[in-house]
């Protein structure tokens, strides 16, 4: 673990976040959008894990624990997101988010 510098690991996180954000901002397919959200979120979770590893116990354990909780949270988020996808597909026959604009009214 000590081989890797904090900076390089944070660079990985930043890259993942950038990829996720790019996906969020450019994709129109709802499922791809969800995947992009997950990528961005994992960047944040990774940060918790790095810092936990570098801090050591006992502070490190709470970082690991938060990471696990966040993974669970991400899973539920995806579940909700997929439910929305299904509902959208049933009502509009398409999962293109560019067409789902009726909320503005």
């Amino acid at each position: 673990m000590t081989d890797l510098s904090v900076a390089s690991l944070l660079f990985l996180s930043a890259t993942l976040l950038a990829v996720g954000l790019f996906g969020i901002l450019t994709r129109r397919n709802f499922i791809l959008l969800l995947i992009a959200v997950e990528i961005a979120m994992n960047a944040a979770i990774l940060n918790f894990v790095y810092f936990a590893a570098f801090t050591g116990t006992p502070g490190g354990l709470s970082g690991q624990a938060i990471a696990v909780v966040l993974v669970g949270l991400a899973a539920t988020e995806v579940a909700v997101g997929l439910a929305i996808v299904l509902a959208l597909n049933r009502t509009r026959g398409s999962i293109n988010v560019a067409e789902a604009t009726s909320l503005k009214n």
Partner: protein, 647 residues
């Protein structure tokens, strides 16, 4: 004694069972009459005895400085001489009227409502006379007011009855609100200064232990107390239909005649006089207050009697007569003879209830209230005609009928008061003039209804007496109307008229007073003779159309335009004011609100253009926002902090 308190206090529970009908109500009214008579008898056996049973409902602790003594809200039952007297009147008349109702009301719908309301009224009225403090008094005062409203509006499907009920409620409400204000003033005077021996702190109790909490006689005018006394007068004027709050009582005749007899002749309207008597004993009136009370009473006496002279409706004639007689009582209380006023209240309750019930008997028989359609009823309704005549003689003040003693006592008392205070003279003269008018108008009514050969309107049904339930109360009240005035000559009964010193009851007859009596009897007899000359034997006196009295008659029939004035106040002042308020509300207040509303709509519409509804767009706004915040934090914040000098 204490047992009868408890029983009387608990009589309210009888209301629960009224669905069973009139006889239940009659039974309970009879029971309360027995209790009332027992209480009065016990009070007579122990003259000047005060029994008070109460508990403190709420206690507010005092705070030093502004409110030193604290305040208690007390609910209790007090039997003192005058409340025993009032209890006697209320329960006896209440029972007789209730019994009469069985015959009179048998054909009506809504009888459970009628008996329930009448019983509620009796409960409230007994509570009123037994209240041991001013606030409890006010509570029951309002309760009898609302019962009066219900019962005037008993025939609520008739628009005139509904509006009469509303009028009675609103007009008495003016008096009630002023009465309440008066209580507030007394509270502020007695609770904050610690004066009045902490009277307000004890919850305005009328007794302290077993002695009455009598007010000191006030020789001088205190502005605040004068105002408070005037407020008491206003409350009494509203309830007892004194000028200028008198107009509701004639209209209240829209209710059943039994209600008119009980509430609007014998008991509730007398509550105003009772209030004045209680206030003069326990609160005290300043000399200015007394003059105001004398003025209101004396003027009303005459004013109402003039209107009775021309009216064609049998019930309204008696109603005006009631206002006029209440004026006598108010006059006596104002002149400083509260007990004499209550004496007249006592006799008046019986003979006026008698007149109303006799009139009710007539109305029941012929189905109209118009005197000019009746006539010749003497033959078919002998008992009623005699009962009405007894009531009329008593009202006219012809000895030895009850009304003579008390009315004469009032005139003699006011004469005595006028000798020491010349400002009372005009009102004494009005009171004497009224004796003449009274005898005239009541015998005019008698002649129109009972004398002559046959009814002037041939379409009226053949008249007959009512059932025994109607005849018995007429007989009982006739007997009382004859002898009630004499009761006061029994020393034990006269003790009911004494709280704190001389009462003036029963009347004493010195040489001056004999002359005064002779004058009043002469005036009464003159009135009767005039009525006989004009209306006797079925004659109808028609005023020539070009007579100079014709405009006067119009004014009287229009009731001095007081009603018109009420309407003018209502329509022009209140409605006009409301129109202005409405305009203000519509255009200024609503305008402002609508302005904000339009501003909100317009700005929302402007902002709405920026909404694409695209999720990606919102996400990019979030990202841009976060980047902007970061830039602020990293680059702008240090510069700002450095500038203001924070390291």
């Amino acid at each position: 004694m204490a047992v009868s308190f408890v029983i009387v206090g608990l009589l309210g529970t009888r209301l629960k069972r009224l669905e069973y009908g009139g006889w239940v109500a009659v039974g309970f009214a009879g029971a309360s009459m027995v209790v009332g008579v027992l209480v009065a008898a016990a009070e007579m056996l122990h003259p000047g005895h005060y029994s008070d049973a109460n508990f403190t409902w709420l206690h507010l602790p005092g705070s030093p400085g502004t409110f030193p003594n604290g305040f208690s809200l007390v609910i209790g039952v007090l039997v003192d001489p005058i409340s025993a007297l009032m209890l006697l009147v209320v329960t006896v008349v209440g029972f007789l009227v209730m019994l009469y109702s069985i015959g009179y009301m048998h054909a009506d719908r809504g009888l459970p409502r009628y008996y329930a309301e009448l019983s509620l009224f009796l409960t409230a009225m007994t509570g009123l006379v037994l209240a041991d403090n001013l606030l409890e008094f006010f509570l029951f005062w309002e309760l009898v007011g609302v019962c009066s409203y219900f019962l005037i509006g008993f025939y609520y499907e008739k628009p005139s009855a509904a509006s009469a009920a509303k009028e009675a409620f609103l007009v008495t409400r003016i008096g009630d609100v002023l009465f309440l204000l008066g209580i507030f003033i007394y509270f502020s005077v007695y609770a904050t200064s610690g004066g009045g021996a902490g009277w307000a702190a004890s919850g305005f109790l009328f007794v302290q232990g077993s002695t009455p909490f009598l007010a000191a006689t006030m020789g001088a005018n205190t502005p605040l107390l004068t105002v408070a006394g005037l407020m008491m007068l206003a409350g009494a004027a509203g309830k007892s239909a004194q000028f200028p709050l008198h107009a509701w009582l004639p209209d209240a005749m829209e209710g059943p005649t039994t209600v008119s007899a009980l509430i609007h002749a014998a008991t509730m309207v007398a509550a105003g006089v009772y209030l004045l008597a209680v206030a003069s004993l326990f609160l005290g009136f300043t000399p200015d207050d007394r003059l105001a009370i004398v003025a209101v009473g004396g003027f009303t006496t005459f004013f109402a009697a003039t209107m009775a002279v021309v009216h064609p409706d049998i019930k309204r004639v008696i109603a005006y007569s009631t206002i006029s007689q209440l004026g006598y009582m108010v006059l006596a209380v104002g002149a400083g003879f509260a007990m004499v006023g209550l004496y007249h209240l006592f006799t008046h309750a019986f003979f006026k209830a008698l007149l109303f019930l006799a009139a009710g008997s007539v109305i029941h028989a012929v189905g109209t209230q118009d005197l000019f359609k009746m006539g010749g009823l003497r033959k078919s309704m002998r008992l009623t005609s005699i009962a009405f005549a007894v009531g009329a003689l008593s009202l006219s003040g012809i000895p030895p009928f009850a009304g003579f003693w008390s009315k004469d006592d009032i005139l003699a008392s006011v004469y005595a008061a006028a000798r020491s205070n010349p400002a009372y003279w005009p009102f004494l003269i009005l009171a004497y003039a009224t004796v003449f008018l009274t005898a005239y108008y009541i015998f005019r009514a008698w002649y129109l209804a009972f004398s002559g050969e046959h009814a002037r309107d041939a379409t009226l049904p053949h008249a007959h007496e009512g059932p025994w339930t109607m005849r018995v109360p007429l007989l009982a009240l006739s007997a009382l109307a004859v002898v009630a005035g004499l009761f006061a000559f029994a020393p034990s009964f006269a003790s009911l008229f004494s709280i704190g010193g001389g009462s003036g009851v029963p009347p004493t007859y010195s040489a001056t007073e004999l002359v005064l009596s002779a004058v009043s009897v002469g005036l009464g007899a003159g009135g009767i003779l005039l009525a006989t000359a004009l209306w006797g034997n079925g004659r109808v006196y028609v005023l020539a159309p070009d007579s100079t009295l014709q405009p006067l008659r119009t004014i009287l029939l229009q009731r001095y335009y007081v009603k018109a004035f009420y309407d003018w106040v209502g329509l022009t002042l209140v409605y006009g004011g409301s129109r202005i308020a409405d305009w203000f509300e519509r255009y200024v207040i609503d305008g402002t609100i609508h302005g904000f509303e339009r501003l909100g709509t317009a700005s929302s519409n402007a902002l709405r253009r920026g909404q694409s509804g695209l999720v990606s767009d919102y996400a990019s706004y979030v990202v841009l926002g976060v980047i902007g915040l970061l830039l602020l934090l990293l680059f702008v914040a240090p510069i700002v902090l450095a500038t203001v000098g924070v390291p």
